[in-house]
Amino acid sequence: MTTSEPGRLDVEAVRADFPILARTVRDGRPLVYLDSGATSQKPRQVLDAERAFYEHHNAAVHRGAHQLAEEATDAYERARATIAAFIGAGSDEVVFTKNATEAINLVAYAMSNAATSGDEYHRFRVGPGDEVVVTEMEHHANLVPWQQLCQRTGATLRWFAVTPDGRLDLSDIDSLINERTKVVALAHQSNVLGTVNPVTAIAERAHAHGALVVADAAQSVPHMPVDVAALGVDFLAFSGHKMLGPNGIGVLWGRRELLAGMPPFITGGSMIGTVHIDHSTWADPPQRFEAGVPMAPQAVGLAAACDYLSALGMDNVLAHEQAVTAYALKQVGSLPGVRIIGPTDTADRGSAVAFTVEGIHPHDVGQVLDDLGVEVRVGHHCAWPLHRCYETVATTRASFYVYTTFAEIDALAEGIQAAQRFFGTAAAR
């Protein structure tokens, strides 16, 4: 068991902020939570911020002129500014959604809505002959909405393949991205492989052909410093719950001029300019894309999460995760019968470590680990096409965050060996 922590975070101090990490599971075993890629745990500071909103300032945002409504609106818009600053964006470029999934659907539906909206929205129209490009490593959230856009509009879906070592195969980029390409949608960081994709280079190619670029940043914004200006994409989607924030809130960032020229998705109150019984006009972004009473308490919670991460320093968060990941790749990757799915070193690679264990189905690996208090995810992790590339239906995935310790990686490696002993597939080392 390793006791020193070479990352630049005081992990024990961090852990003390997360009430759930003190609990036990199964027969009183300490919780070893290695499923932050699915959802992260929340520090007290985030829960307190959300609760304080409810207990002191709760009102419908942007809809009232009384003091509570003023305070609620102010808290909501300050939260937007904090979150915008966290990714180097302007406040008016940050749209709140319920999660990354809605954020991506927003863009995909706006593009099909453009067909039946005014000419001012022609920039977003797609139809037969146009192409939409994704990758084989996408999470279903950044794949199915584009399949559906193609189905609604008659556009054609194309995709980048992945290489056996877990990288995008860019060899056919010149034919994949061409003058027919209208949008390129890809993960900034894969939730299975951990791979960080060369988004900036691909975006340049796409922009040369006038295509829009949508980055699924659900697994990057929580784990590394992300600056939208430097990244060079047009839209960026992420979820609050994966970055220490509450559930029920996500973000779509979009370039100011693109949001301004984009038709709405969900329609209703607070996103309108004027409403007549048979037609309506729209508010400016970001309001245009936020129909209904918004999730202000969750926005406030997410801003508290950004503050928490900023106080740790995103460079330190990244360094800590790189160290933990390197250790995991070594400790887990060196076990006999274990195959890492994805890059085996930490270059351009984040902290999801997916693997197979020879002769044991991931469900069974997960069950043994769970019995030992080690909580990992098993299955296709919402990336079914990717798993087909590796000729496996499912993998076991451990994923890490600011509160992950080296001792927890040791527990994982020991758990895998326990599974091998239990199912009799490997001699004990």
Binding site: H361, P362, H363, Q367, D371, G379, V393, A394
Partner: protein, 159 residues
């Protein structure tokens, strides 16, 4: 370790040496089921033998064969199913299915009837793990579908 309560020896035996695996002809109905959370799959075939003139609940389950990919629980459950259902009438099989389904939803509180479920009582421990219930039921749901299909085909053929 509570693992033993879930992975009973019977289950591990069926997992390592599955019975009736491999698709066989002839068959009346075939169903392909997938567990959407993990991607596990089964293709299961049923052949019935009419008791009287027409295929109905009194028909005998003459054969069940399958091809599948999945975890120990889903594999063992398919194997146990074939042992239990081949040779019974459809009506009887449906009763076993009902009993097994009830056991799976018992959250570890069920008192399985060993006379009805035989080896399948070993799955009682699985019912404590909600995420694994689908694994245990996958083959059973496929059998239900394939059997319904067999009866349907017959009806269509008759009309």
């Amino acid at each position: 370790m509570q693992l033993e309560s879930m992975y009973q020896e019977i289950i591990l035996d069926h997992y390592r040496n599955p019975h009736n695996k491999g698709l066989r002809e002839p068959h009346h109905g075939e169903a392909h089921h997938i567990n959407p959370t993990c991607g596990d799959e089964i293709t299961l075939r049923v052949r019935l033998e009419p008791a009287g003139g027409s295929l109905d609940g009194s028909a005998t389950v003459a054969d069940v064969s399958y091809d599948s990919m999945g975890c120990s629980i889903s594999q063992a459950s398919a194997s146990v199913l074939t042992d239990l259902l081949i040779g019974r009438t459809v009506d009887d099989g449906m009763r076993v299915l009902a009993e097994f389904t009830e056991l799976m939803h018992s959250k570890g509180q069920g008192e399985p009837d060993e006379d009805v479920l035989e080896d399948a009582v070993a799955f009682a421990g699985v019912s404590k793990y909600p995420a694994r219930i689908k694994c245990a039921l996958l083959a059973w749901m496929a059998w239900k579908d394939a059997t319904a299909q067999s009866l349907e085909t017959e009806k269509e053929g008759a009309s």
